[in-house]
C-alpha cells in the first residue's frame, strides 16, 4: 500500500466518523425533543416537563461521559454496540410511552428511566468517538471538528423536529425513524472498518434484527395512534385505542382533558362537573334512604364520583360494555385524579357486559338507575333508548326509585330529546325533564323517570358542589320556547324513530 492510498483511506474513515458524529447528534437531540414533547402532551404543563426532561437528559449524558473512562479497549466495537442500543432504546421510547400510558400508574418513573438510559448512551458516544479519532488527528483539530459536527447536528434536529417531523410524521414515527438512522450508522461503521471484521458476523445479526424491529414498529405505528387522526382533533391526542367496541381518544391542552368515543366528545375535564352533578344530584338528593345505585354506561367513573358523595349509598353497580374503558379509568393516575378513584371504591362493583341483556337478566333491584349511554347516533345504541329497554327497567327499580337518562341536547336535537321523554312515558313512567348548560356541550338534557311522582326538590345536597344547588334544580326544570315539548313518535326496536330524528337534527353540526 503506498502512502497516498493509505492517506485517502484514512481521510475517508475520518469523514465517516465525523458524519456519524453529526448523525448521532441529530438523533440524540430528536430523542430528547420527543421525550419532552410527549411528556407535555401526556401530562400537561410544558415548561415543567421540558425543563425536567432536558435536565435529566443532560445530566445522564454527563453520567455517560464519566462512565466512558471505564471502557478501556475494543473502542470501535463498543461504539457500534452503543449506537445500536441508542437506536433501539431511543427509537422505541415514543411508542413505548404511548402504549404504557394507559397501564402504568407511575408513568413518570418509566418516562425518566427511558430519558436517563438514552442520555447515558448518548453521553458515552462522543468521548469514545474522540478516542477512536485521536490516533489520526491532532487534539486541536479533533475537538474542533467533533464539536462542529455535534452542534450542526443539534441545529438540524432542532429545526426539522418542529418543522418536518411532528407535522408530517408524528411523534411515534419520528422517534422510530431516527432509531433506524442510528442503527444504520452502526451498520455503516461495521462494514467500513477492517477492525470490525472479527465481530462483523455476530453484530450484523443484531443490527438487522434491530432495524427489523424498528421497521415493524414504524409500519404498525398507526395501530398505536393513527397519525391522520391526531390532525382531526383540536388538541393533542395523548391516548388513542381501538377496542373491540369503540375508539377511545383522550386529548389535552393546557386547560383540560377531553375524552372522545368514536370521535364524539364525552367530557371535558374543565366543565364535566356541571354535566355529572346535573346527572346525579337532582335525583339522588331526593332519595335520602337510597342504598343501591346502578350506573349503565359511565365507565369514566365520573357519575360514580358524584354518587359516592352520599354516605347512605352502600353499593354501586357500574355496567359498562368496554373493559378497556373501566381499566383505563381505574389505573391511569391522571384519570383517577379526575374521578377521585371512584372506580376503586370498595362500594363500587364493575360489570363489563352489555347493558340491555344485563338488565333483562338481572334479579337485583336499585333505588337509582343512572343511564349515561352515548347519544343514539347509531342503530345498536338506539336499541338502548327503546321502549322495550325501558320496559325492562320496571323489574329492577325499587318502589319509589328513580331513573335518570342523559338525553342529548334539547336545543340542537329537540325532537330526539322529547322522543326519549315520550318513549319513557309510553313505557309506563312519569317523567321529569330538565336541562343544564355545559359549556363544552352546549345546552344539555336529562330526563328523570319514576313509577309514582315522589320526586322532591328541596332535600339537602352534599357540600362542595360547584353547580347544583336547590335553586339550580328549580331553574333547570324550565324549558324556554325554543326547547319546549313537541309531539314525536315512540322509539321502538322495530322503528328506531330516535336514531332517525337524531341523524336529521345533528347532521348540520357535523362537518
Amino acid at each position: 500500500m503506498d502512502r497516498t492510498a493509505a492517506d485517502s483511506g484514512l481521510r475517508r474513515d475520518q469523514n465517516i466518523l465525523l458524519f456519524s458524529v453529526f448523525a448521532i447528534a441529530t438523533c440524540g437531540l430528536v430523542y430528547e425533543l420527543v421525550a419532552g414533547t410527549l411528556a407535555s402532551y401526556l401530562m400537561g404543563d410544558s415548561v415543567t416537563q421540558f425543563s425536567t426532561i432536558i435536565g435529566t437528559y443532560l445530566f445522564s449524558m454527563g453520567v455517560g461521559s464519566w462512565l466512558s473512562r471505564y471502557i478501556e479497549d475494543h473502542l470501535l466495537r463498543w461504539f457500534i454496540l452503543i449506537e445500536v442500543l441508542v437506536g433501539v432504546v431511543g427509537g422505541c421510547s415514543a411508542p413505548l410511552l404511548f402504549l404504557l400510558f394507559e397501564h402504568i400508574a407511575s408513568f413518570r418513573i418509566i418516562l425518566y428511566s427511558l430519558v436517563g438510559i438514552t442520555g447515558i448512551l448518548v453521553g458515552l458516544e462522543i468521548p469514545i468517538l474522540m478516542r477512536i479519532l485521536k490516533a489520526n488527528l491532532a487534539f486541536k483539530e479533533l475537538v474542533a471538528r467533533v464539536f462542529t459536527f455535534d452542534y450542526i447536528g443539534a441545529l438540524i434536529a432542532s429545526l426539522i423536529f418542529p418543522l418536518v417531523l411532528v407535522p408530517y410524521l408524528g411523534l411515534i414515527r419520528a422517534s422510530l425513524l431516527f432509531g433506524i438512522i442510528n442503527v444504520s450508522i452502526a451498520g455503516l461503521l461495521l462494514y467500513r472498518f477492517d477492525e470490525a471484521k472479527p465481530f462483523r458476523r455476530s453484530f450484523s445479526v443484531t443490527i438487522v434484527a434491530s432495524v427489523m424491529l424498528l421497521l415493524v414498529a414504524f409500519v404498525y405505528a398507526d395501530r398505536i395512534m393513527t397519525f391522520s387522526e391526531t390532525l382531526a382533533f383540536q388538541d393533542r391526542v395523548i391516548f388513542a385505542k381501538n377496542t373491540p367496541y369503540q375508539r377511545i381518544v383522550l386529548t389535552r391542552n393546557n386547560r383540560e382533558l377531553r375524552l372522545f368515543l368514536n370521535g364524539n366528545l364525552q367530557f371535558s375535564s374543565a366543565d364535566e362537573y356541571r354535566y355529572h352533578e346535573a346527572l346525579v344530584h337532582p335525583a339522588l338528593h331526593s332519595l335520602p334512604h337510597a342504598q343501591k345505585v346502578l350506573i349503565l354506561g359511565g365507565g369514566d367513573g365520573l357519575a360514580a364520583r358524584e354518587i359516592l358523595k352520599y354516605p347512605n349509598i352502600d353499593s354501586i353497580t357500574l355496567v359498562d360494555l368496554d373493559p378497556a374503558m373501566t381499566r383505563f379509568f381505574s389505573s391511569n393516575t391522571m384519570l383517577r385524579r379526575l374521578n377521585h378513584d371512584a372506580l376503586l371504591s370498595p362500594k363500587l362493583h364493575v360489570v363489563n357486559s352489555d347493558a340491555f341483556n344485563w338488565v333483562k337478566n338481572s334479579h337485583d333491584s336499585f333505588d337509582l338507575v343512572v343511564i349515561d349511554f352515548p347519544d343514539p347516533a347509531n342503530y345498536s345504541i338506539g336499541k338502548l333508548y327503546s321502549s322495550a329497554f325501558y320496559e325492562e327497567l320496571h323489574h329492577i327499580l325499587r318502589e319509589r326509585g328513580i331513573i335518570v337518562v342523559q338525553s342529548t341536547s334539547p336545543y340542537v336535537a329537540r325532537k330526539s330529546y322529547w322522543c326519549i321523554a315520550h318513549t319513557l312515558q309510553a313505557s309506563g313512567f312519569i317523567t321529569v325533564p330538565y336541562h343544564a348548560y355545559v359549556p363544552s356541550f352546549g345546552e344539555w338534557g336529562y330526563i328523570m323517570a319514576m313509577e309514582q311522582y315522589t320526586w322532591r326538590t328541596d332535600n339537602p345536597l352534599p357540600t362542595g358542589l360547584r353547580y347544583i344547588s336547590n335553586a339550580t334544580i328549580k331553574d333547570m326544570l324550565y324549558f324556554p320556547p325554543d326547547m319546549s315539548e313537541l309531539p314525536t313518535g315512540i322509539n321502538k326496536l322495530n322503528n328506531q324513530a330516535l336514531v332517525n330524528y337524531f341523524e336529521d337534527e345533528w347532521a348540520p353540526y357535523i362537518h
Partner: protein
C-alpha cells in the same frame, strides 16, 4: 350438521399469513400500486369451515331399497312421518285435541326440516327458513299458536295482536347495494331513472289494489294459506302464465323493477321470473295482509336462529314421542290400519310399526318411494336447490351509505344476499355471523342438483367471499369461518300451472282414510304459514275420520 370435516387445505394458514405479513412489511416502502395481485383461493386459506347438509346419504338408501329384516314391532294410533314444520304442526294439533298416542319419525338427527339452525360462539344462525310475515288476523289457528308461544303477547282493544317486540324485525330492516352504494330498502332507487320509478310505483299500486281485491265467490284473491284464495277464474288463470309474461304484457320493462321482482321470486320461491307463475309472483305482494297493534303489515318476525325458533315452540308444545334417524321405507294397508317399515340409521336395525293412521309429511319425491304398492298420484313439482353459507366475521366492516341491516342484498348478483344473524341481538358484541343465500335457478334442476353436490368446499367458500367482496372490499380478512349447506331440494317452486292444477289436488287426497298427506309441496309455496296450515288441515281430517 352432517359429519363435518374441517377443511385445512394441507397447509398451515397461520404461519403462512404471518410470513406474508412480514414480506408485505418490506414491500410497503417500495409499493407503487396499491392493487396487489391476489389469487382468490390462496387469499382465503385463513378461513376455516366445512360442508354441512341434510342427511342425503340416509335418504338415498331409499333408491337401493336394501334394508335388513325388522327385529322389533311397535304400535301407535297415529304415525307422522317427517319432522319439519308441517309434521310438528300436525302433531301439536293432534295432541292438543285429545289424541295422545302419536309417534313422529324424523329422518335427520334433529327435527326441523328446512328450518334447522346452527350456533357458534358468536351467534345462533339459520340454515334455511329464517323469518315469517305477520299472519292475517283471520288465520286464527296460527294466531293462537303464536299467542301460546309468546310471540303474540296480548291483544289490544280492537282485537289486534300485540307482537313481542324482541321478535319483530328490528329497524333497519333492508338495504341494497346498487351502483356502488348501499341504499335503504330493496326497491332500487339509487341511480335509477324516472321510467324505473314510475313503473315501480305503478306495479306497487297495482299489487296494493290486488291486496284488497275480492273474487266473485267473496274470497280474497290472494290469501295465505293460499288454498283460502278465491277460485275466481279471472285471477286463477294468472297461474297458467309466467310472471315474466305477465310483466311484459303489462308493460313493465324497467330492468331495475324486473330485477327487484326476480329477486323477490328467488328469495321466496327459489325461481326466476320465467320459472314462477304470475299468480305466485303477485301473491308475494298481494297476500301479506297481516295486522298488528304495534307493527306495520309489512313487518316480519325473525330470530337469530331463524324459524328454528318456531320449530322449538312447536316441539315444546308436543314434546314426546319424536324419534330421529328414522327412515320409513315402506307401507302397506292391513285390515286394522297401516303396516310401516322403518330403518334406524343410528342402530342400523329395522322396526315394523303398526299404526291405525299414517300422516306423511314428506316431500313427494320421498313419498312416492315409501308408499310401496299403494297408488299415489304424485304431482311432481319442481324443487329449487339452494346453497346456504354461514359466514363468521371477527368484525363486520363499515360500509359506505346505509348501515348494516337485517337483510342485505347486492344488486345484480345470483345470490339473494345475506342476513345478519345478530340483528335481533340486543347486546353489542364484536363478532358477527351472516347467512348467505344462493338459490340455484338453472332450468335443468336435476343437473344443477348434481353439479352443486359435486363442487368442493373451496369452490363455495371462494364464491361466497367473492360475492361479499364485491360490496365490501377487504371483507375476506375479517372472515374467520364459512360453513356451507347444500339443499338438493330446498323448496317447492310455484311453477306455472302448478298451484291451481288438478294434480296438486289429487296428490293431497288421503288413501282409504288411513294414509294422509301434508307438505308445503302440496301447497306450492314453501313458507311457515303454509306448512302450519298443511299440518293442521291434515290433523283435522284425521280427527274427523276417527
Amino acid at each position: 350438521m352432517n359429519g363435518p370435516h374441517t377443511y385445512t387445505d394441507g397447509h398451515q394458514p397461520a404461519r403462512r399469513t404471518f410470513l406474508k405479513q412480514i414480506a408485505s412489511l418490506f414491500a410497503v416502502p417500495f409499493a407503487v400500486s396499491p392493487i396487489a395481485a391476489c389469487n382468490t383461493s390462496t387469499d382465503n386459506r385463513h378461513i376455516t369451515g366445512s360442508m354441512a347438509g341434510a342427511n342425503a346419504a340416509t335418504g338415498h338408501l331409499l333408491r337401493t331399497g336394501n334394508f335388513p329384516a325388522a327385529t322389533k314391532t311397535l304400535d301407535t294410533e297415529i304415525l307422522i312421518v317427517g319432522g319439519g314444520a308441517t309434521g310438528l304442526s300436525a302433531k301439536r294439533w293432534l295432541e292438543q285435541h285429545g289424541q295422545n298416542n302419536v309417534l313422529l319419525l324424523e329422518l335427520d338427527k334433529q327435527p326441523g326440516g328446512n328450518s334447522v339452525a346452527g350456533a357458534n360462539s358468536v351467534s345462533a344462525y339459520p340454515w334455511g327458513a329464517h323469518y315469517m310475515t305477520l299472519p292475517d288476523t283471520t288465520n286464527t289457528d296460527l294466531i293462537s299458536f303464536l299467542r301460546s308461544a309468546g310471540i303474540i303477547t296480548s291483544f289490544d282493544s280492537n282485537g289486534l295482536p300485540v307482537y313481542n317486540e324482541y321478535y319483530l324485525c328490528h329497524d333497519p330492516e333492508e338495504r341494497l347495494y346498487i351502483n356502488g352504494h348501499w341504499q335503504e330498502g330493496l326497491v332500487p332507487r339509487f341511480g335509477t331513472g324516472s321510467t324505473d320509478r314510475l313503473q315501480t310505483e305503478r306495479f306497487l299500486k297495482e299489487t296494493e289494489r290486488l291486496k284488497h281485491a275480492v273474487g266473485n265467490d267473496g274470497q280474497p284473491c290472494f290469501a295465505i294459506p293460499l288454498d283460502t284464495s278465491s277460485a275466481d277464474e279471472e285471477y286463477r288463470r294468472l297461474d297458467n302464465i309466467t310472471f315474466d309474461q305477465y310483466l311484459t304484457e303489462n308493460g313493465y320493462t324497467s330492468r331495475y323493477l324486473r330485477w327487484y321482482l326476480e329477486y323477490c321470486c328467488k328469495d321466496d320461491y327459489g325461481s326466476t321470473l320465467h320459472q314462477t307463475s304470475a299468480w305466485a309472483g303477485l301473491h308475494y305482494f298481494a297476500s301479506r295482509k297481516g295486522r298488528a297493534a304495534n307493527a306495520l303489515s309489512s313487518a316480519v318476525l325473525t330470530w337469530p336462529e331463524g324459524n328454528a325458533f318456531l320449530i322449538n315452540a312447536l316441539k315444546h308444545q308436543a314434546p314426546d314421542n319424536v324419534r330421529t334417524n328414522m327412515l320409513v321405507h315402506n307401507l302397506e294397508l292391513t285390515a286394522g290400519g297401516v303396516l310401516v317399515q322403518c330403518y334406524n340409521a343410528a342402530s342400523r336395525s329395522c322396526t315394523t310399526i303398526r299404526a291405525r293412521k299414517v300422516l306423511l309429511c314428506t316431500p313427494q319425491y320421498i313419498t312416492k318411494r315409501i308408499v310401496g304398492t299403494l297408488q299415489y298420484p304424485a304431482s311432481a313439482p319442481s324443487y329449487a336447490p339452494w346453497v346456504v353459507a354461514n359466514v363468521t366475521l371477527d368484525r363486520f366492516p363499515a360500509s359506505s351509505g346505509f348501515p348494516l341491516c337485517w337483510d342485505n342484498v347486492i344488486y345484480g348478483q345470483e345470490s339473494v344476499g345475506y342476513v345478519n344473524a345478530r340483528h335481533q341481538n340486543l347486546g353489542h358484541l364484536p363478532g358477527s355471523v351472516v347467512t348467505y343465500y344462493l338459490p340455484v335457478t338453472g332450468d335443468d334442476t336435476l343437473a344443477s342438483r348434481r353439479s352443486i353436490r359435486e363442487l368442493p368446499y373451496t369452490h363455495w367458500r371462494d364464491r361466497v367471499v367473492q360475492d361479499l367482496e364485491f360490496a365490501h372490499p377487504g371483507i375476506r380478512h375479517r372472515i374467520t369461518n364459512i360453513d356451507v349447506w347444500i339443499w338438493g331440494h330446498g323448496m317447492v317452486r310455484p311453477s306455472p300451472g302448478y298451484i291451481w292444477s288438478n294434480a296438486r289436488q289429487a296428490a293431497r287426497q288421503p288413501i282409504d282414510n288411513r294414509v294422509f298427506f301434508a307438505h308445503t309441496d302440496l301447497s306450492g309455496i314453501s313458507v311457515f304459514e303454509e306448512a302450519f296450515f298443511q299440518g293442521v288441515e291434515a290433523a283435522k281430517k284425521i280427527l274427523q275420520t276417527s
